[in-house]
Symmetry: C2
Subunit: 205 residues, 2 copies
């Protein structure tokens, strides 16, 4: 893997994204300060409404963007509509193929699965809709108990807050574990460093 310096993070927005899926990981990348640069992209630039209400802002169109060092794909109720949009899916596929690392949170894994890029790969998603995700994308080797899963360049995480733990694992891969520990401490965040930690798997089965 060859990443640029600073690490260029591309973060994908769509209507109905889940706030913490998106901003939890971006908080961690943001704490890399000069070592990372974040670009928020969407189908078109401008304001994009979250499922919770508040809007995010896309600075650039997906179509005008090249690959990133890390491509972040959040989940949220809006994934259901986004995965039925052929133009969005085509751009997502192109960006995922052109990026060094692709990291998905919650039902963002389900969205990425629709591109076919997770076929025959290990992946996880949130646990509340796990059976639906599993039956809808049967070529993916879905892991029922995992905070996050790394398979090749793909990092996929469980629901919502799991994206922060996964992101610290991505940062550890790119910048070393010590950097992730520093960032977790600055965010006063208790990093679940063990990717098999997943009490929520039991809660929903």
């Amino acid at each position: 893997m060859s990443t640029s310096s600073p690490i260029h993070v591309g973060a994908v927005l769509f209507d109905g994204f889940e706030l913490l899926d998106f901003y939890g990981p971006l908080e961690m990348f943001g704490l890399l300060e000069g070592e990372a640069k974040i670009t928020v992209v969407a189908e078109k630039p401008g304001q994009v409404r979250s499922s919770g209400g508040p809007c995010g802002v896309a600075e650039a169109a997906m179509a005008g963007s090249g690959g990133f060092d890390v491509l972040l794909i959040p989940g949220g109720i809006g994934t259901r509509k986004a995965m039925l949009n052929p133009q969005f899916l085509a751009e997502l596929t192109r960006l995922a193929e052109a990026s060094q690392i692709v990291a998905t949170v919650c039902t963002g894994s389900f969205l990425l699965a629709r591109t076919g890029l997770l076929d025959r790969r290990k992946a996880t998603s949130n646990k509340r809709v796990f059976q639906l995700v599993k039956s809808s994308a049967p070529k993916v080797e879905w892991m029922a108990k995992a905070r996050w899963v790394e398979d090749g360049k793909y990092f996929t995480s469980s629901g919502v807050s799991a994206g922060m733990d996964m992101t610290l694992a991505v940062i550890a891969k790119l910048c070393g574990r010590e950097k992730s520990l520093q960032i977790a401490s600055r965010a006063e965040y208790e990093w679940h460093e063990d990717s098999s930690w997943d009490p929520f798997a039991a809660a929903w089965y």
Copy 2:
């Protein structure tokens, strides 16, 4: 305390706010779905840049807003500039006085302390700059080891991710503990329900 239905959350943005201070709590309020309504306010409506880079969006001006059921004040490097802005501080004071609950995250506590409203109250803030906060606002009874502190209508939390634990405590107060447990489970978030849990106090002393 008398809150409206749905619970009206006012969330304050300023340049250089910390992403997770803001969107972590808003994720939790957002999961109340129809039971809460979020309005993002700032000195003027429009895009507001975070310390990490991505912009948030304020829908309304603070000056045009009345009090809220919950007023959320994030922290971030931008608090240093915001606390030197008399017009911003005047509006923050007015909104805090008119709101039923005021909840601050990280250096958002320091910002609120500048209004004088935390004088002679117990409060906490993030631990990395705790000594600075303590010496700069000596009339506040700063608690060195606390994930969050509740004193009257004021909830103040430790750094960044502590805002989520505090918000679940606010929701428990307004809607009952069962609701907070449901929301934490939906967000696959391990709620630190004990407000005295604070390993980060030791890390910085």
